[in-house]
């Protein structure tokens, strides 16, 4: 019975498949992309733009295309700790095909990592990142073709990419952006949007100033009424800003179907203690965490209003991370003992995570001493 097989083995040529689909996968979702920071531009008014090109010498010939609204994640290596930061791409898919990515940072970033970046990143510097990721993008099968976007300050970044992609024909939907600021001088990207809006009917911008009157701008604060005065028919709403702003909009859109209501989630600082369901009594300001990792056990400390991920990072324990908002599951970690608080908006745990004790430390805060098992350190 086996003779037949033996014969067929003998006469078989060794096949090497073409792997066309694997190659497509590698260019759409590369595991690493080597970049050179090719240009830093001070946009005045407090914003700095970083332009990256593929590092051809290191083997990256072209950049992965992405969906407008996605972000890229950088490993940041500081003297005393390693961490990650993600930034929405402000450039478009066409820009990626032409060979560059752009991100923008605000100058007065109060946090240590932001300051480190502004101080240390130099033109010519090399970086290795993964593929762009995130789920904040237009999806024609789900969203209305009318999309209302609302943003303050740097919340506007993902919409810059969307607007440009619409103008360039890579995306096809109607975008009405409500772009709010306290004063005219802080509507930093007005010129960019005016330029796009004057070239395509599909992008409209409504400017809103809180404290100033200016022709062409509405005075006040954005509200559902204001939006509905300006938009006809059904629409999906895309929000990008702080958690406080999301709360405010949630009240405005109380009972609005979640289908039509999407938020850009990249973690900003969350005032965890003031969250609605944060426990009234927490036994201490600071807790001990016993961490089991590849090379043994470490005991570290974490403040009650500090994410566990940041405590791990500050103590030199490496946990992969990306979105830092409970969505990408990269930081997935086992909790063996103790209690944590996780704000509802950032709780991306799966049913089995609850059952078998796993958390996303990027948005978990200690409520007691803890024992964790990290996967990689």
């Amino acid at each position: 019975m086996f003779k037949k097989t033996e014969k067929s083995i003998k006469h078989t040529e060794i096949v090497q498949y073409e792997n066309t689909v694997d190659n497509l996968a590698a260019s759409l979702h590369p595991k690493v992309q080597h970049l050179v920071l090719s240009k830093i531009t001070d946009l005045q008014s407090g914003y700095i733009e970083f332009l990256f090109k593929p590092d051809i010498l290191a083997g990256t010939k072209k950049l992965a295309v992405f969906r407008p609204g996605q972000f890229i994640t950088f490993d940041i290596e500081m003297k005393d700790m390693k961490t990650t930061r993600s930034f929405p791409l402000v450039s478009s898919p066409l820009d990626a095909r032409s060979g560059f990515y752009k991100i923008i940072l605000k100058r007065e970033i109060s946090d240590k990592v932001g300051n480190f970046i502004l101080k240390n990143w130099r033109e010519g510097q090399k970086f290795s990142i993964g593929a762009p990721s995130g789920n904040f993008y237009y999806e024609k099968l789900r969203d209305f073709s009318n999309v209302v976007a609302v943003a303050f300050g740097s919340g506007v970044f993902p919409f810059m990419s969307m607007a440009k992609a619409i103008y360039e024909g890579d995306e096809n939907f109607n975008l009405t952006l409500f772009y709010e600021s306290n004063r005219a001088k802080n509507l930093v990207f007005k010129r960019f949007f005016d330029w796009i809006a004057s070239r395509t009917d599909k992008v409209r911008v409504v400017y809103i100033l809180e404290n100033e009157n200016l022709s062409g701008c509405k005075r006040g604060i954005v509200s559902r009424d204001m939006i509905e005065e300006n938009v006809e028919g059904g629409y999906s709403i895309f929000l990008s800003g702080s958690q406080k702003f999301y709360e405010y909009m949630k009240n405005q859109y109380f009972n609005y179907p979640p289908k039509l209501y999407r938020t850009f989630d990249l973690k900003q600082s969350v005032d965890v203690i003031s969250q609605k369901n944060y426990p009234k009594f927490v036994s201490s300001e600071i807790f001990n965490i016993q961490v089991k990792c590849r090379n043994g056990i470490k005991v570290i400390q974490c403040m009650k209003n500090q994410t566990i991920l940041s405590a791990l990072e500050k103590n030199g324990i490496n946990v992969p991370s990306g979105c830092r908002s409970g969505k990408c599951a990269l930081c997935h970690t086992k909790i063996v003992a103790g209690q944590v608080y996780i704000p509802d908006d950032f709780d991306g745990r799966r049913i089995a995570d609850f059952k078998y004790g796993y958390i996303h430390p990027c948005c978990s805060y200690p409520l007691s001493n803890l024992i964790l098992v990290v996967k990689d350190c």
């Binding site: 497509l24 295309v65 599951a329 089995a352 059952k355 078998y356 990689d376």
Partner: protein, 541 residues
């Protein structure tokens, strides 16, 4: 130098089962997994209010507690996932053809299923009896062969399973012909081929039998907590038994010396040593990417088998209950036409492929997703060439257009609306599957189980390596794809690996010995079976 008794590469379903099996025998085991979670395909993801199972729609050879299949016995024995809610699926499928030839529901119970077929044509009684008997014998024979890792005592095999030896390498279609199966009934019995990726003319009967008939015999099952929970349960068990799992770590090389396994090298530049390795990655991947000096014969063996098909999945979270949406079935199988050869040929292009399966877990468990919502998952497959033409620039548009086409076809045929209720959507293409788990060219269906070579080939030593100490497990490795197979192949690989001789040779153990060793199936083979099948016509060739 030896750090571990066994190193398992990959914590997919096969690798996890292998590790637990070896740990239970007090071996020192290390598992190395590239991703940050266990399970491979056996996982889930969250979008908004919904948690989607990546791949599990029907678990094979599990069965009710009172009617345990091989897989359930393994789970019970090793206390895997004891605390999950297992949902029995009473429906085999609702078969629909777009050309209106059929639209009928079929239950997932052998007797009821047969009853339904007999309603369609009562003259088929004899043919059906023979068909199911033959199928049953195939199931048993394949288990027997698997237990012996493809080196069964042939005499014993012939004696116990004479019909298997005779007919198993026939195609499903050929068996139909031999039995003079009426066309209508043939169409229904063939419906399942969409899950196997091979049309009845090419599908080997034994392969068909071991999947489809197994479902009918014990009903399909799913855990309410998603397949990811099974994976985490394995992880927990492995830790309890003192096993070590390294996540976020990929194996880059298998270190060999004089044709023997020595250890592995990881992407973090660590080396771990063991003289036994069980790979959850396909032989194809291992020989081409992980070994510096693959053996020619091994490379040839992986060249004999063709990859089957690549997958395309649309995950939908709908903001309306399945009742309000008027979705009545768990599992729809939809073909353009019941002409299987045409459907298969159409699968080679995005333009022509119209077949699909649609499954709705809420039908089995109403609160599978939050109240007032429904999860609906569309699946189809393409043969390898279909995605070759896709350009990077058009990729996102193509995937969304194709998903739209599937949804529209379903809406139109069932006269229901879906689209306006889509709250969350995720689309997985062959590119996604290639990216996520590195299955070659997005192929999720293992190998083509054609009839082009001998009975034993993919049951037997095609997956065995010439390298001593190296064994394989998993869905794309041994025989057949799928969860049941992946877990059980892990169990078997571990059992055999432990037997692999000190003399450096992979073990060749007689069927009798193997039976004695097997703790699970000890009683399974007690009485020899002779089943006379009433088949006239052709001779065995």
């Amino acid at each position: 130098m030896k750090d571990y008794d066994i190193i398992v590469i990959g914590a997919g379903s096969g690798g996890l089962a292998a590790a637990v099996t070896a740990l239970k025998k007090n071996k020192r085991v290390l598992i190395i997994e590239k991703r940050n979670v266990p399970g491979g395909f056996s996982t889930s993801f969250v979008r908004g209010r919904f948690e989607f199972d990546v791949s599990l729609h029907e678990l094979n050879s599990f069965g009710a507690y009172e009617n345990q299949g091989e897989l359930r016995r393994f789970f019970e024995n090793y206390r895997i996932a004891p605390d999950l809610q297992w949902l029995q699926i009473d429906e085999a499928f609702r078969l629909i053809s777009l050309d209106n030839e059929i639209d009928m529901e079929f239950p997932s119970d052998v007797w009821k299923f047969r009853g339904k077929l007999l309603e369609m044509d009562s003259d088929a009684d004899l043919a059906l009896s023979a068909f199911f008997k033959l199928g049953h014998e195939c199931l048993e024979a394949e288990n027997f062969i698997a237990e012996t890792n493809g080196k069964p005592d042939i005499k014993l095999l012939r004696k116990r399973y004479p019909n298997y030896v005779k007919f198993a390498s026939y195609s499903l279609d050929k068996v139909f012909k031999l039995l003079h199966m009426p066309k209508k009934i043939k169409d229904v019995l063939s419906a399942y081929w969409i899950y196997l990726g091979v049309p009845p003319e090419k599908l080997r009967f034994s392969h068909y039998a071991s999947l489809f008939l197994n479902y009918l015999k014990r009903h399909p099952y799913i855990p309410k907590e998603r397949s990811y929970a099974i994976s985490l349960s394995f992880d927990k068990k492995i830790r309890e038994l003192g096993g070590k799992i390294l996540y976020n770590t990929a194996v880059e090389k298998i270190i060999t010396e004089n044709g023997k396994v020595k250890g592995v090298l990881t992407d973090k530049n660590e080396k771990f040593f063991a003289d036994k390795i069980i790979s959850n990655l396909t032989p194809y991947t291992v020989y081409r990417n992980l070994l510096d000096n693959p053996v020619e014969r091994d490379l040839k063996k992986t060249s004999i088998r063709e990859f089957a098909s690549c997958g395309f999945t649309v995950f939908l979270g709908l903001n309306k209950s399945f009742k309000d949406l008027k979705i009545k079935n768990y599992n729809y199988i939809i073909y353009d036409t019941l002409d299987t050869q045409k459907s298969f040929a159409d699968a080679s292009s995005l333009k022509t492929n119209r077949m699909m399966t649609v499954s709705c877990p809420n039908v089995v468990s109403r609160d599978y997703s939050p109240e007032g919502t429904t999860i609906l998952v569309f699946n189809t497959f393409f043969t390898a060439d279909a995605w070759k033409e896709v350009k990077e620039k058009d990729y996102y548009k193509i995937k969304s257009d194709y998903a739209e086409k599937m949804i529209e076809t379903f809406e139109k045929k069932l006269n229901i609306s879906i689209r306006e209720f889509i709250e969350e959507i995720e689309i997985a293409t062959p590119v996604t599957y290639s990216d996520y788990l590195g299955c070659p060219d997005g192929n999720i269906y293992g190998f083509l189980y054609g009839t082009y070579h001998g009975i034993m080939d993919d049951l037997s030593f095609l997956h065995e390596s010439e390298i001593n100490g190296l064994r394989f497990c998993g869905g794309n490795t041994v025989r057949q794809f799928g969860y049941g197979q992946a877990y059980l192949s892990g169990y078997r690989a571990a059992m055999l690996s432990m037997l692999d001789g000190m003399d450096g040779k992979n073990s060749h153990i007689s069927a009798e010995d193997r039976l004695a060793l097997n703790e699970i199936d000890a009683n399974y083979y007690k009485k020899p079976r002779y089943i006379e099948i009433n088949i006239g016509g052709e001779k065995d060739e």
